[in-house]
Subunit: 238 residues, 4 copies
Amino acid sequence: MTASVSPGLREAVWQANQALVEAGLVRLSFGNASGIDRDAGIVLIKPSGVPYDELRPEHLVAVGLEDGQVREGEARPSSDTPTHLALYRTYPTIGGIVHTHSEAATVWAQACLPIPPLGTTHADHFRGPIPVTRPLAEAEVGADYEAATGAVIVATLDELGLDPGDMPAVLVASHGPFAWGGDPLEAVANAIALETVAAMAIRTYALNPAVQPMAGYLLERHFRRKHGADAYYGQRRR
Amino acid sequence: MTASVSPGLREAVWQANQALVEAGLVRLSFGNASGIDRDAGIVLIKPSGVPYDELRPEHLVAVGLEDGQVREGEARPSSDTPTHLALYRTYPTIGGIVHTHSEAATVWAQACLPIPPLGTTHADHFRGPIPVTRPLAEAEVGADYEAATGAVIVATLDELGLDPGDMPAVLVASHGPFAWGGDPLEAVANAIALETVAAMAIRTYALNPAVQPMAGYLLERHFRRKHGADAYYGQRRR
Amino acid sequence: MTASVSPGLREAVWQANQALVEAGLVRLSFGNASGIDRDAGIVLIKPSGVPYDELRPEHLVAVGLEDGQVREGEARPSSDTPTHLALYRTYPTIGGIVHTHSEAATVWAQACLPIPPLGTTHADHFRGPIPVTRPLAEAEVGADYEAATGAVIVATLDELGLDPGDMPAVLVASHGPFAWGGDPLEAVANAIALETVAAMAIRTYALNPAVQPMAGYLLERHFRRKHGADAYYGQRRR
Amino acid sequence: MTASVSPGLREAVWQANQALVEAGLVRLSFGNASGIDRDAGIVLIKPSGVPYDELRPEHLVAVGLEDGQVREGEARPSSDTPTHLALYRTYPTIGGIVHTHSEAATVWAQACLPIPPLGTTHADHFRGPIPVTRPLAEAEVGADYEAATGAVIVATLDELGLDPGDMPAVLVASHGPFAWGGDPLEAVANAIALETVAAMAIRTYALNPAVQPMAGYLLERHFRRKHGADAYYGQRRR
């Protein structure tokens, strides 16, 4: 069975990886972006440790959604591939995933704190506090570490009763953010929004340590302006 | 009645939107710039949710100043259009308005604090503390939210007895800044100055929490160097 | 008497103004750079309020060192010209001066605090704490304000017994930095070094509020590595 | 004996110096990169005080590993050459060294604090806290200062029992970082990683002063993912 990767998916995943660089979310070979062809059951992802300026569309690696085996490509897939697969398997609405060590979001992950909603920039993209996972236990890190990272992201959303469309990012404690969306470029946009609100929130607390989260009705209004049946932001393309 | 938009206004509004990107004040599709033709009673504004790198002058949308109805253009106008209209209707001296989520100014808006004048960079552009609005009530957010945002900006200036020429920006609580000027590019310049003084002020308080606002006579001298009948800064173009 | 400006000085002052932009030290029309022809008794300076991207060498304005009258050029000279003249008149070794509102240096000026020497980056350029002036009195601001700014810089160096070659920058309280050097580009280099050490010092105090200034012998060693008869840094061009 | 420098080494050291600029780790003429030809016993290094934009491959200076005498090149070698030589002599596995005054790493050096491991970005590159040296004594600074800087870096690693491959950077107190690697570009990559984790750590402590270092088993897992016999990150090139 050799399902072939569509040129459109290959182009989209390559563009998403480049967009991470252009947005300043990655340095060196940190981070990765992937996309999925649900019909073919194939995930296309950045190869491991390849610098972004050397990355070409044909370097991307296709792996099976269920078995994680390489279907196309001569390189090793990203070492974080099992994390991506766990998310794609659990959430059928996700079409693209990005992982970065973007500075401000990683600061919240290292501080092991969720990012409270402090303004409409946050509310436009995230329907509530952006959660942080619990720390992984030694047994989880010692065994199938990257799969355990995916599992703890899923467990975090589950425990909070969050839909991945309402909360398109999670911070992995002592590590950094994963973000997703309907396609690879939407995942990048959510990672950019995450970095922006993370940076704003750090500085807001520094300026006013007593600041309270924004009003729930304002958060809901802004999220609903952009998402769901009553959205009136944008050009009716959603 | 089909008033047509002058090419000069279209070019100015398009340039102002591009200048927001070049100045680093906007990311993704955050923010918007508009301009007005007072004779024709028409406001020209960015379409909603369109990325800046795809924006062309012909994409800008013309709406009636009084009724808010689309006069020219095939796209939806910015969802913040009612806020712009409220300001244009109240202040006849305003020729351009920009809205951004620029990082440091938004931090003050999220902290729900006005920006005190701490130095001449501030005084060159803003004649006193840059105000922050009260939070909007649930009823205001639930009904005509964007018009209510315009109304609370006007109410904020009114209560402080401020002229929009002396104070060309207001922070909307839990949201971000609106700035204006005699034309769209002057509005952008004020938004740049706002972001600059907002960033400086955050760091000044971090370095010296006991810092006091600058002397009133120094503030007045610098503002008057650049504005009004006795201005002696620049090339006599004002 | 019409002394003409040498092409070399015009080019150097123009390059210095452009270098301020490239180094990120200025935005909008903030700031200015000047140079002097001591033989001709002429100072060449940026015109007032002209954006840097419109500035051409022929726009620079020549004024007399002693009388401050325009000798060449059709524009108004920078409103800060009397400050530059005061420094050139007092210090015969100065060949170029720059004024900026660069962010971190302005933060120290707004905080009304001198910048203590915390590391060798500082010591390579500044032989001790970088001083801040006292606030100007109302009478000084109300009369010949820009000349008073020059006078308070000179008074600050005088009171501390500092030579302008050992301390090539002063922070003007509630305003921002002035920096100088043997020629206009050296003045820019000192302004860049100032902004760098100012930014580092803000963050060093945030990280470790109890930090002490560096050892005097280390400061002296580094300053002497680059300046004076025993300098051994660089290519023997000084 | 006139050993000639291989074109490959010259190109690599030149690229490393340029990469410092592109990565934003150096300004003005701060910093330097070097590489070594172990067979020829020659170290190739940036000339002293030359701005990076004027630096050409043929300007690099070759000095003898053991005697420090210039073998090729018409310029003075970097004044920090004795520091580089001390490291090359002590650690035979090092193929490239860079010195910068990159902002965040220098902040830790100025604060005289080691950088604790707070997340996987750190653990991917540094196997534990990144150490800071003790302050140099007056006698050390007064005599062969740059050689003493090299000696205190070596002493710091020795006292902590650290291998230079496990800990490819040290902060010199009141000065800034030195970083190294198997070749000059790997040294640059480690300097970039250092600056990144230094910046993240400053902000993490600001956000959560009570934060604890990451779990040792997570640190070890990430370091081992990229280094040593069991590494599975990257494309099997190590």
